[in-house]
Assembly symmetry: C2
Homo-oligomer: 339 residues x 2
DNA sequence: TTGAAAGCGCTAACAG
DNA sequence: CTGTTAGCGCTTTCAA
């Protein structure tokens, strides 16, 4: 492996001069620069980031931690989009990312202390992760891709405005004449599920209506309520005319269930999802859903982290960013059916 | 940041002795070891992999390259599973992974020369990637997660036996009485699509039947043929009674299309997918599909790479591994409908 | 069983 | 504009 010393010797200059050339330092005579560059090209020299990192005390590397307890979630396209967003921004700034799947019980600060990553992006970290306080209270640069409780010290995070998305979805359904709603919602310990439900609840309250607790059905992410449960919902007095689901997979399953039960979607019943995953644009009918920009969430997280590291980034600085959501109206919602 | 020097000073020993302790070197007196360890714990010392990597000439890091031209593919759950498999094995051996999204035109050998990763895992690298020969012909340890042409020098890869999966699927359909098959297949430049089709073609040939070229429909991954095309297929003389799709997303779209056209699946028509993604287990009807173990593919790739790096791994060594596929029979295939 | 010295490949500080 | 010296934090000789 060719080193800076090799280049210096071959170009008849000092190592420092070579260093200046590869770092685009201005104080180098053009002639020298060209000579050195020629040698660099000829020898195929590539500077070692390892050595550079050691002496500079930073590695130009960011650690991305994905909590393994989000394993059930990980098959989902949004994660990959987050990663792509992060990666794109980082590579623009000559950073690389060390991706780490963390078990709940292992400290992810090791990446910082051992690998000397310059900062951490914590993806989908559960709020009760035991090592979270260490990061939030320490001096490790970090960004969370999920908000943490408002009561804590102001943390760095990007998140998606699920509540607003839910409000938009309900407004849409309301305008279509729907008044009875069923909610198929992920488990309460998932923040997004809580927030969506809160949004729906608020939007209903604004219209003078209480959410009907008997029409809220909890299930695991991506797995909708069973046929039995859905049937039971529809047999209640004042049955729901619209189903709001906390992700697109659930929504699509519900649609299929309803179709199998002989209902038309959106003719008889309406369904909205959340996320706007690829599948929402492929299902039949096309899914009306709450769009979130997962790529942007990732790229923004990276930008926020780079800014903490003193880099100049495009977006204005802020400790906490709530990305907007937008209801995408497609084919799974329609006017309430007159009886 | 506390260094080995701090520990040495505090423990009244030389740096080398501390080094021996953290590397579990045998030649240390128990008393010394304990004293040093106590200091390490007290100070919270973590050795810098950067410094260690510099002196040892290896970084205990693996580069994982995901070709960006596979962008359309990346929303798909299998990728994430590959990554999880890689990560799990690596961390067991104290390796970390540097994940890099490579554009087609940028050389991914930079990771090796600049970041000094010890080896590369190339995910979904197109066979015509211009830098592939550099890796295959060079002395960089690597593993591909996709086979390359048999005519090349023997390369290191793990792949999935799509052909065998297709054969199994066709056998299953044949046994159910199906004789006319439509194939909704990804683009020809995708290896998996080629191999699936080859398997189907072979299985048909073994039964004395030629594949009907007019029943082969090409489309992009995850996007099935349109309603018009599917309708046209069904209006051909001797229409297909079964649809074989090259991924689960396509299969599910086709099922929905068929249902919308008034057909029962599997009552009137059968559909098989490929991959066994999460969605296959959630769709309605549950999808009969060709299962592949994406997690295993990742973990095996990591093991193969570590072995090249001289590590002791579980699996026996081999340059090329073809992981088995298995047809999972669920609800989307049934006996051909008697007319 | 332990330590001193040297050096991995690079850059920072300071001269010249 | 260029070079010298020193040193980042660790491991590797080689001696003691």
């Amino acid at each position: 492996m060719v080193t800076i010393t090799d280049v210096a010797r071959a170009a008849q200059v000092s190592k420092k001069t070579v260093s200046r050339v590869i770092n685009d330092h201005p104080d180098v005579a053009d002639a020298t620069r060209q000579r050195v560059q020629a040698v660099i090209d000829a020898l195929g020299y590539q500077p070692s980031m390892l050595a550079r990192g050691l002496v500079q005390g930073r590695s130009n590397t960011v650690g991305v931690i994905i909590d393994e307890s989000a394993e059930d979630v990980f098959g989902y396209p949004l994660y990959s989009e987050n990663l792509r967003g992060i990666s794109r921004v980082l590579s623009r700034h000559n950073f690389d990312m060390l991706v780490h799947f963390a078990r709940h019980e292992t400290s992810y600060t090791d990446l910082y202390y051992q690998r000397r990553v310059d900062g951490l992006i914590l993806m989908s970290m559960p709020v009760d992760n035991p090592f979270l306080p260490v990061v939030l209270g320490g001096d490790i640069p970090y960004v969370l891709t999920q908000r943490v409780s408002d009561h804590e010290a102001p943390a760095h995070w990007v998140d998606v405005d699920f509540e607003s998305g839910a409000v938009q979805a309900l407004e849409h359904l309301w305008a279509l004449g729907h008044r009875q709603f069923a909610f198929l919602i992920g488990p309460p310990n998932k923040t997004y599920a809580r927030l969506l439900l809160r949004g729906y609840r608020q939007a209903l309250a604004d219209r003078g209506q209480d959410i009907r607790e008997d029409l809220i059905v909890r299930s695991q992410p991506y797995i909708s309520a069973s046929k039995t449960v859905v049937t039971a919902l529809l047999e209640r007095p004042d049955p729901p005319t619209a189903f709001a689901c906390s992700d697109d997979m659930m929504a699509i399953q519900v649609i299929q269930l309803l179709q199998k039960l002989g209902y038309q979607v959106p003719g008889d019943l309406s369904v909205v999802g959340s996320d706007d995953a690829l599948i929402a644009r492929l299902a039949s009918p096309l899914l009306t859903t709450i769009h979130q920009d997962a790529y942007r969430k990732g790229s923004l997280a990276a930008e926020m982290l780079l800014e903490q590291l003193g880099k100049q980034v495009n977006s204005p600085s802020s400790r906490q960013v709530l990305l907007p959501t937008e209801l995408v109206v497609r084919g799974s919602t329609g006017p309430v059916r007159s009886r």
